[in-house]
């Protein structure tokens, strides 16, 4: 084998593939920039915070409590938006039924008397939610409000008791605030970067764009040649399977890394996403991610029955990546076998390692890099075997 001639054969694909991609801007626009644009809008527009739950408080006049909704909104720690304070429990429940409010809290009219008798009062809370997240937030909101309300009652009662004791010549050297809240917590997030939606999702979007671009380009590459007659030319020529694959890996790898570099620069210098680990590790992760994704794309290209099926499979892979890779929902929240599925998606490891490198300064789970390389090698070997079979004379 003449290695120089082999180099020229590999280079023939390098030049040809790059020219073809450049000459078909529609593909880049539709399949690469489109998803990237959607993800960019998501990254820029998603705040990660939910609106407070519209709430109505029913406070009977006998309680003598203030009727200002803002006071009670504050008590819920911002989780509830008290839009109305009323006195008629039935009217409030009707409004809940009609979804004019999402949560109703009803205080008992004899709460004050029961407290004086040393009895516990019960607040009635009802909500009208089908969204499981809103259901949890309503529960959390009402517990927070009840907790703070109890604390306030204790604080007021303690203040009254301390005043009474002082009047009777038995001063108590303790603050009502300490009685109401004997322990408090001081918090600190020691992560190298403080959580921010854009900073957190930026590397994830970047990883998904790299995977999608590499996979889409590669998945369309061989399918055209298989069904367009070019494969017959390859069969008759001195080309072998490894030269074809190397040429394609080089061409699409270069293109992916080039576009990846532009996206990464935009992300860091325009959107302000932190880059604690430096460019070197990011480049290494992107190269591994591109290698693995190109392998998956070429597998699709070598096994799909038509160009349409290849596009569909690439889109299915994107959908699976969005759901199972940790892009939106944490991988840990899935059952074990779905977590196994997430492991075979290159982007799962791309997201985790890029977030670690960019936001923490170092990759914590280095085994993920080995898995990325492993996916790439396994795909390359399967592609090589498949292409060799395709290039053989048909029996």
């Amino acid at each position: 084998m003449n290695p120089v001639a082999s180099l020229f054969r590999v280079s023939s694909f390098l030049g040809k593939e790059l020219r073809e991609v450049v000459r078909r801007p529609g593909i880049i626009a539709a399949l690469i920039l489109g998803p990237f644009g959607i993800m960019l809008i998501f990254g820029l527009g998603y705040t990660g915070s939910r609106r407070p739950i519209p709430t109505e408080l029913v406070l009977p006049a006998e309680l003598g409590l203030p009727a200002d909704p803002a006071t009670f909104s504050e008590l819920s720690g911002g989780r509830l938006d008290v839009v109305r304070v009323s006195e008629d429990p039935q009217a409030a429940m009707d409004r809940l039924e009609r979804q004019e409010v999402d949560l109703v809290v009803i205080a008992p009219a004899d709460a004050r008397e029961r407290l004086r008798r040393g009895e516990q009062s019960t607040l009635q809370a009802a909500w009208n939610e089908v969204d499981p997240v809103d259901d949890s937030l309503a529960r959390l909101g009402i517990f927070t409000m009840t907790d703070r309300l109890n604390r306030e009652i204790i604080r007021v009662a303690a203040a009254e008791g301390i005043t009474l004791a002082a009047q009777q010549g038995q001063p108590v050297n303790i603050s009502p605030d300490v009685i109401a809240e004997p322990a408090r917590v001081e918090t600190e997030n020691v992560a190298p970067t403080q959580p921010a939606t854009l900073a957190f999702f930026g590397p994830a979007v970047f990883a998904l764009v790299v995977q999608h671009m590499a996979l889409t380009l590669a998945s369309l590459s061989m399918i055209r040649e298989r069904f367009g007659g070019q494969l017959d030319l390859f069969r008759v020529s001195p080309l072998n399977a490894s030269e074809i694959l190397l040429g394609k890996y080089l061409a699409y790898g270069l293109l992916t890394v080039l576009v990846g570099a532009i996206v990464a620069a935009l992300m860091v210098y325009v959107l302000g996403v932190p880059l604690l680990g430096g460019w070197g590790p990011v480049a290494g992760i992107v190269a591994l991610l591109a290698f693995a994704s190109l392998g998956v794309g070429l597998l699709i290209s070598l096994f799909a029955d038509s160009e349409r099926q290849a596009v569909q499979l690439a889109m299915l892979f994107l959908l699976a990546s969005v759901f199972f890779s940790g892009f939106v929902l944490p991988v840990e929240e899935f059952v074990a076998w779905v977590r196994g599925l997430a492991l075979v998606l290159p982007v799962t490891h791309g997201i985790a390692t890029l977030q670690d490198s960019m936001l923490r300064g170092a990759v914590g789970e280095e085994w993920m890099l080995a898995v990325l390389a492993g996916i790439g090698v396994v795909c390359f070997v399967i592609c090589l075997i498949r292409l060799r079979l395709l290039l053989r004379s048909a029996a």
């Binding site: 084998m1 003449n2 120089v4 001639a5 082999s6 020229f8 054969r9 280079s11 023939s12 030049g15 040809k16 020219r19 073809e20 000459r23 078909r24 367009g228 007659g229 070019q230 017959d232 030319l233 390859f234 069969r235 008759v236 020529s237 001195p238 080309l239 053989r392 004379s393 048909a394 029996a395």
Partner: protein
């Protein structure tokens, strides 16, 4: 003693099946170096299957195929570098320019970049596409695309070319220019096997093989094939008055006579030169004047139609003169 020339292409008893369908049946064929073999037959006759077996794309179901002495499925790189294959359908890259397509194929054959420009230019000049080298392949006409494929097939200077329907869908003038190019390659020592549906193109070939329903009907030099089909030379005899085939009965050298119209006969003879004076003499003896006697060459369409009909009917022997001119 003169040594027999080894055929560059050698097929013996080759059969190719696709499931239950027999595409090529028991084909034996050879092509000598520096010649063009025209593989002629209607659509579906098995021509492309033969080319694909020779190029190593398909394996034969039975029989042996050898190209340059090697079974195509065992070709090494050194063999592939000397072979060119021009498929029937356009299989280049529509988004690349003319020059880029030829350059890609040239690089695919391992040509160093410093030699590539000269070879690309030479190939494109041969097929007269150099002036449109910057045009995308998708913007070329059908004829130009075929010429581009031919340029791609010859850019690496192959010794053997398998050319599948080079003139399909191309106007007659361009067809002739493509055949001129193929003959120039032949003259330069290349061996070519070309398929075509156009029977008239047989005249451009050194040898012609006729295929129908996967079977070889005949193989020979074009002129010899024409002679063999009708059993000899054909003479068209035009008399000055009405004449019947009976008038030429028992003329030495005449094997059969057919009436064309009241004044015209066609006679089959082993040697036109000696039969012409005998025919004149016989007609004059019978008081019939001779208006003209001329050698007639039936078209290859007639020859092919005749051979296919005889093959279909299982007839053996020569056909006699054609029924119409």
């Amino acid at each position: 003693m003169e040594r027999a020339v080894e055929p560059v292409i050698d097929m013996r008893g080759v059969t190719r099946r696709y499931g239950d369908v027999v595409a090529v049946r028991d084909l034996t064929l050879g092509v000598e170096p520096g010649t063009i073999l025209g593989l002629i037959g209607p659509s579906g006759s098995g021509k492309t299957t033969v080319v694909r077996m020779l190029a190593g794309i398909l394996a034969p179901s039975a029989g042996t195929v050898r190209v340059m002495g090697v079974e195509p499925r065992r070709f090494r790189r050194s063999h592939r570098e000397r072979i060119a294959y021009m498929p029937q359908l356009f299989s280049l890259y529509p988004d690349l320019t003319v020059k880029e397509n030829v350059g890609f194929i040239s690089a695919m054959f391992g040509t160093p970049w410093w030699k590539r420009s000269r070879l690309i230019r030479r190939a494109l000049e041969v097929v007269e596409l150099w002036d449109v080298r910057h045009r995308r392949a998708s913007d070329l006409s059908g004829g130009m695309q075929r010429r581009l494929e031919l340029a791609c097939a010859i850019v690496h200077d192959p010794a053997v070319l398998f050319v599948d329907e080079p003139t399909a869908g191309i106007d007659p003038i361009l067809r002739k220019s493509i055949w001129d190019e193929l003959r120039r390659l032949r003259d330069a020592g290349r061996t070519l096997l070309c398929t075509t549906q156009y029977v008239a193109e047989a005249e451009y070939c050194d040898n012609v093989a006729l295929l129908a329903t996967g079977e070889l009907i005949a193989v020979d030099e074009p002129e010899e094939l024409r002679r063999r089909t009708y059993g000899g030379d054909l003479l068209r005899v035009r008399a000055t008055r009405e004449v019947t085939p009976e008038a030429l009965r028992d003329v030495a050298g005449i094997t059969s006579v057919r009436q064309i119209d009241a004044y015209t006969l066609v006679a089959v003879t082993g040697e036109a030169g000696t039969s012409t004076p005998r025919i004149t003499e016989r007609l004059n003896e019978r008081g019939i004047g001779v208006h003209s006697i001329e050698e007639y060459q039936p078209s290859f369409d007639d020859v092919f139609t005749e051979l296919v009909a005889r093959h279909r009917d299982g007839a053996v022997g020569v056909a006699g003169p054609p029924a119409a001119f």
